[in-house]
């Protein structure tokens, strides 16, 4: 059985190195020396923007051995639907994994946009369905539905979306109501996007059992991840496949890899070493795994090559792999052995690291031992 390996795309802007941190490729911040997308030419903005760099990352990703890219969605990122629609015509095989929260879009609109993108890309849309971390971020988005209710809404949203896809469809539910909803004839009959479903809470796992093609988790210590997968299997009539989102910092030697982490750690102030809390259950789980760790960055290495401090060096999840090419490949093989069917890998900068991992790590993978 083959394993689908995706590479993340930086919707929040990209840094030239993990150890440097400053976002100088695309992004939202002020202009910094050497910034691009947009950059300066003759002292004036050069007319390019974030999407121009993202297009380069997508093309590099596609050429480097990845099937596509996760386009994340947070308050401080650009929007994945906008990015996928803008870049649809610029790759030939790249799958656009669009992260979105069902509450923000009507399911009929999601169906129409998805089917239009399927037509534009020849069926290369993939969903990463998020139901939200809760708390201040949800209110930022204008969403007041409570945490556990959001999974009920996600379930209903996907029922309506699938119903419309195969329409005509009538529905009167708790969150949505439609009458004779259907896609236009020329948008019908296309493949329904694969669903990567995120969420670590019991409500999420129950909903994943119904809707997910892939249950997607952030990387955690491997035994915790195995237990989580077992829980999802337990709650599913037909167990989904499993996917893990993993940052990788792979170098020719282990020393080089850890030196990159050390240099990144050295630039942080004390406050940055202690990140903000979130209501997200996945986030709280991650924090618990590193609770009680010492002040040294190596204290966050919870098992060989599994480092829990990535969130301090860039926005996003805690855990990733640090090591030489063989070590990182061996850990990925262990994850495959543990039941992982798909990866979403990432590294900073996303362009050069996609090329590096594609050239030096992916060829070393051995796959399932059994």
């Amino acid at each position: 059985m083959s394993v689908d390996i995706y590479w993340r795309i930086a919707m929040e802007g990209d840094a030239p190195a993990l150890r440097l941190g400053d976002i100088t490729r695309g992004g939202f911040g002020p202009y910094l020396p050497g910034a691009l997308g947009p950059g300066l030419r003759g002292g004036a903005p050069d007319g390019y923007g974030p999407v121009d760099y993202m297009g380069e990352v997508a093309r590099a990703t596609e050429r480097s051995g990845f099937v596509g890219g996760l386009m994340p969605s947070f308050p401080e990122t650009d929007d994945p639907w906008a990015a996928a629609a803008a870049l649809a015509g610029e790759t030939t095989a790249y799958r656009f994994m669009i992260a979105f929260q069902p509450g923000f879009l009507h399911p009929v609109q999601a169906a129409r946009m998805s089917a239009s993108l399927q037509a534009a890309t020849g069926g290369r849309v993939v969903y990463n369905i998020i139901s939200g971390g809760g708390g201040p971020q949800q209110l930022w988005w204008g969403d007041k539905v409570a945490h556990d209710d959001r999974y009920a809404r996600t379930s209903e949203f996907l029922d309506v979306l699938k119903g419309v896809w195969d329409g005509p469809f009538d529905h009167e539910g708790r969150f949505y109501r439609v009458e004779s909803a259907a896609l236009p004839p020329e948008l019908r009959g296309q493949p329904f996007p694969e669903i990567f479903f995120s969420g670590s809470s019991p409500a999420a796992i129950a909903a994943a059992g119904r809707h997910a093609d892939y249950y997607l988790s952030w990387l955690e210590p491997f035994d915790a991840l195995a237990a989580k997968f077992a829980l999802v299997r337990e709650h599913s009539d037909t167990p989904p496949k499993f996917a893990v989102r993993v940052d990788v910092l792979a170098r020719e030697t282990e020393e080089e890899a850890w030196e990159e982490v050390r240099a990144g750690w050295a630039r942080l102030g004390d406050a940055q070493r202690t990140p903000d809390a979130s209501e997200s259950v996945g986030w709280q789980r991650g924090r618990a795994f590193t609770a009680g760790a010492g002040d040294d960055f190596r204290d966050l290495e919870v098992q060989p090559n599994v480092w829990g401090g990535f969130n301090r060096l860039r926005p996003g999840p805690l855990f990733g792999l640090v090591g030489d090419y063989h070590q990182v490949a061996a850990r990925l093989d262990e994850l495959i052995d543990l039941g992982v069917d798909a990866f979403i890998l990432a590294g900073v900068p996303h362009l050069e690291e996609a090329q590096r991992v594609g050239r030096h790590v992916l060829p070393l993978l051995k796959g399932k031992i059994a």
Partner: protein, 272 residues
């Protein structure tokens, strides 16, 4: 200055049936010719492209993003109704398109859909309440765009401590096009529109003060003199923008660019 826009197609074109003996390797057309029309408008120096909401066609925001990515100068207006998304999300998606394209996205808000079309799209609101919802939609979208933190508690939508991060890339709020002749429609335009779209038989005097008048104009017959004459006459009556219907083919767009536009504008000499 008179601004001339084409309407983009939203459905894949039918295609000619070739004789059996002619080798046919044409890919199946699964997309409208929106990109070719957009590039024609761009090359031809037209001012914009409107991608209408067509219940039987592709999604206007998806089509508009592709046209924007293909071009550098034209404005691209996407038509949608306020029940497709929360205003925060519609604004966020649009803010990215603005960051990607030099701020060339415009919004054409469809407020009064036919009841059966609305219900098929999950919208059961009718009557003047639709204008109240559109008001909230635009108020919140502009609010999160321009202020941080921004809070609004409405009847249909809400946001608490919202507001977008700053952006070094220019990100103007999309130019807003509204339409309608009811008192509610005109009041909404007075409050939120940059331009108000009217039909050929509507009185331009309806357009609220401070809002540009935009006209939907049919050009079924390719008579450039007649069209240019009508545009000139209407422009003198106060119309600032023209949307030429029906949906263009690349051929119509080039015709507008090379046959109609020169009659409206004095060409600068010595180009090239």
């Amino acid at each position: 200055m008179t601004r001339l826009h084409v309407v983009a197609p939203t459905r894949a074109p039918g295609r000619a049936v070739l004789p059996d003996f002619v080798t046919d390797v044409r890919p199946r057309a699964v997309e409208p010719e929106h990109r070719a029309v957009g590039r024609a408008a761009e090359l031809g120096g037209l001012d914009g492209v409107l991608v209408p909401f067509d219940p039987g066609g592709h999604d206007p925001l998806v089509l508009a993003a592709a046209v924007l990515r293909d071009t550098r100068h034209v404005q691209v207006a996407a038509e949608f109704h306020p029940a497709i998304a929360t205003p925060v999300y519609a604004a966020k998606l649009s803010a990215s398109l603005q960051r990607y394209t030099g701020g060339r996205l415009a919004w054409r808000l469809a407020v009064d859909l036919a009841p059966d079309v609305a219900r098929a799209h999950g919208d059961f609101l009718d009557g003047p309440a639709r204008y109240a919802r559109a008001d909230e939609f635009l108020t919140i979208a502009k609010g999160v765009w321009g202020e941080r933190p921004y809070t609004f508690e409405g009847e249909h939508f809400q946001v608490l401590d919202g507001g977008f991060p700053g952006s070094r890339v220019p990100r103007p709020f999309p130019r807003v096009y509204l339409s309608g002749t009811s008192p509610e429609a005109l009041a909404l335009s007075a409050k939120h529109a940059d331009a108000h779209l009217i039909g050929p038989d509507d009185d331009p005097g309806l357009v609220p003060d401070g809002v540009d008048a935009a006209l939907r104009l049919r050009a079924d017959v390719q008579d450039e003199t007649a069209l240019a004459e009508e545009i000139r006459r209407r422009a003198e009556a106060g119309i600032a923008e023209f949307f030429v219907e029906p949906a263009a083919t690349p051929g119509t767009a080039y015709w507008l660019a090379q046959r109609v536009l020169p009659l409206l504008r004095k060409e600068t000499e010595g180009v090239g």
